[in-house]
Symmetry: C2
Subunit: 318 residues, 2 copies
C-alpha cells in the first residue's frame, strides 16, 4: 500500500503508544476511553494497515515486537508534533495568543486608541497589536497589502477588493481662545466663522477637505497652513486665529486657554469607516480587536482627549 493512501487516525496512534506504555490491553483501553474489545480491534486494524505486527501477545503477556519498538519512536514524535500544532492553533483560536494589525488615522491612534488598547491588552495579554498611525490613504494601502488586518479611516471609496462599514461619526468643533468673542456664541455655523483669521491644515488632510466641501463654494479666511495639529494648537493659543477640527482631535487643544464649541453645519461631519479585505477573514486576534474597538467606539458628542486619558499606558504597539 502506498504510504500516501494509508489512513491512520490519531486515535490509533495514541492507542499504540498507550499499549506500548502499559503493556496491558485493559488498562490501555481505559486510558483511551474505549472498551477492551474495541481497543483490541483498533490495534489489530493498525497492525493490518501497517502490515507489521507491533505487539507480541498471548493471554498473559504483551510486548512490543522489534518493529513495534522501532515505530514507537516515530509515533511518539508524530503525536508530539501534532500536539504542538494543535496547542498552537488552540491558543490562537481562543485568543490566548495571536496578532492583530490595525491602521488608523493619527487622530484616532493618538487620542482614542491608547486607552482602548490598554484595556484590550488587559483582556488579551497574548495578542500582539501592531498599529500604523498614518493618513487615510496609507491606511487603505496597509490593509490592501496585508500589513494591517483592518483600518479605521475616513475614505469611503475603496477598491472592490476592500469593504468599508461605518465606524463612527466625528463632529467638528471650533477651537479658539477662551477670551475670543466667538467663545460666547450659542450656535455656530461654518459660514459664521468665515470672516475670522483661520489656521488651516494642509490641503491633503481629510480635515481640510471636509471643511472646504462643507462651505463650498465659499472659502474660509485662511491666514496660515500647517501640517501638524499640535502646531495649529500653538498658533491658536497665541491668538493668531481660530480653527475647526473634528472632535477626535480635540486632545491636541486640551489647554486652559482654549475652548472648543460644536459647529452645526449640515454635512460637516467626518465619517470613519472600518476597512478590511473583502474575501479574506480576519485572524481571530484581529476579530477580537475589532469587536473590542466596535464596543468602545467614540460616541458622538463625546469629547475625548483630556490629558488624563491621553496619558494612559498604550499597551503593546509598534
Amino acid at each position: 500500500m502506498q504510504i500516501t493512501d494509508l489512513n491512520l487516525s490519531t486515535r490509533q496512534v495514541r492507542a499504540f503508544t498507550a499499549l506500548a506504555e502499559h503493556r496491558n490491553f485493559t488498562r490501555a483501553a481505559e486510558q483511551c476511553h474505549l472498551s477492551q474489545s474495541a481497543f483490541s480491534s483498533l490495534i489489530r486494524t493498525l497492525e493490518d494497515s501497517l502490515g507489521v505486527r507491533l505487539f507480541d501477545r498471548d493471554t498473559r503477556r504483551v510486548e512490543l515486537t522489534p518493529e513495534g519498538r522501532l515505530f514507537l519512536g516515530g509515533a511518539t514524535r508524530v503525536l508530539a508534533s501534532l500536539r504542538d500544532a494543535l496547542e498552537d492553533l488552540g491558543e490562537h483560536a481562543t485568543g490566548r495568543r495571536g496578532r492583530a494589525g490595525v491602521a488608523a488615522l493619527p487622530s484616532l491612534a493618538a487620542g482614542w486608541m491608547p486607552g482602548v488598547l490598554a484595556a484590550f491588552h488587559q483582556e488579551y495579554p497574548g495578542i500582539q497589536v501592531d498599529v500604523a498611525d498614518v493618513l487615510s490613504e496609507s491606511c487603505i494601502e496597509f490593509v490592501r497589502s496585508g500589513r494591517a488586518d483592518f483600518a479605521l479611516a475616513s475614505m469611503r471609496s475603496v477598491g472592490p477588493d476592500l469593504q468599508a462599514e461605518p465606524f463612527c461619526r466625528d463632529g467638528f468643533y471650533l477651537v479658539c481662545r477662551k477670551d475670543h468673542p466667538l467663545s460666547r456664541r450659542r450656535r455656530l455655523t461654518l459660514p459664521a466663522l468665515s470672516g475670522e483669521p483661520f489656521i488651516h491644515l494642509a490641503q491633503d488632510s481629510s480635515v481640510r477637505q471636509h471643511i472646504e466641501a462643507a462651505i463650498h463654494p465659499a472659502k474660509m479666511n485662511g491666514m496660515m497652513e500647517l501640517d501638524q495639529l499640535s502646531t495649529v494648537a500653538g498658533m491658536v493659543r497665541a491668538g493668531l486665529g481660530i480653527t475647526v477640527v473634528p472632535a477626535l482631535t480635540l486632545f491636541h487643544f486640551d489647554s486652559d486657554d482654549l475652548t472648543a464649541l460644536p459647529v452645526e453645519t449640515p454635512g460637516l461631519t467626518r465619517e470613519v469607516f472600518v476597512i478590511r479585505r473583502r474575501d479574506r477573514s480576519l485572524s481571530i486576534g484581529a476579530q477580537a480587536l475589532l469587536a473590542f474597538m466596535m464596543q468602545r467606539r467614540p460616541q458622538p458628542g463625546e469629547k475625548r482627549g483630556s490629558r488624563r486619558a491621553a496619558a494612559l499606558p498604550r499597551g503593546r504597539s509598534r
Copy 2:
C-alpha cells in the same frame, strides 16, 4: 475539547495540505482520490473538530485563513514525521533494512556461515548482521540477554524462557595422516580407535563431551589436550596422533597430508539447535536470516570447509 480526545485522521490532514496547496476543492479532491463533495465535508469536519475556520472560500476563491496558515506549518511537519516513521517501518517490514543478531558455535561461524552470510547479504543488502562466534553456553546467554535474536548451538536443555528446535546433525570424522594405517579402513567405530594416540580438545568443549559420552565407560587413549582445533590439526599433521571431530569443523583439517573418514558409532552425532526466546518474536530481519539459514542448513554427510569456500567474502559482520 481536550486535545487528547480529538480524533484526526491522516486523510483529513492530507486533505488540508492538498487544499492549501491547490486552493481548489475539485483538484485537491482528485489528488486525494475523493469525490469533490466528500472532500468538502472532510474539510468541514476538520474545521469543526478543530474549532477553527481554516479556509475562506466562496464559489470563486479558496484561501487560507490566518489560522489556516498557522496550522499549515504544523500539519506539514506532522505529515513529514509520519511519513518518515512509516517509511522506516516499511523498509524494516519488507527487509530492505534491519538488523539480525545471531550467536553461533565457532565451528558453524567459521566454516559454514561465511558463505551463507555472503549470499544473505547479496539478497538483503540493507540488513546488518551481527555474529557472535562463541561456545554453546555463551550462545544461550546471548539469546537470553537479547544481544542475539537467535543462536545455533548444541545445548538442548535451555530454560523455559527459551525454545530450541533441531537445526542440523553433525557426524563425527576420524582425522589422521594419509599415511596412517587407519586411513585404509572401510568402516570405523570409536572403540576401534581407542588404542591410537588421541589428540583431545579441552574437557569443556562439546566435541570432547560427545566423544566421551559415546564411548563411555571406556576412554580414548588421550595423549594431549588442546584448546584450539587448528592446533589439533597441526599436531595430527605432525603425526603425533589422531583425532575425531564433527563434520562442520573439518575445514580446520583441510590439508593434503590429512584425510577424514566417517566414524559410525551410534549416538556419536552432534545435534545443533536453533535457540530463541519463547515469548518474543524475531525482528523481520532476523526472521529473514533464520529462514535463509534454514534453507541452507548443512546437509548430513556434506563435507564443508574447503579452502575455497572458507575464503569467500563474509559479508557484514561484527
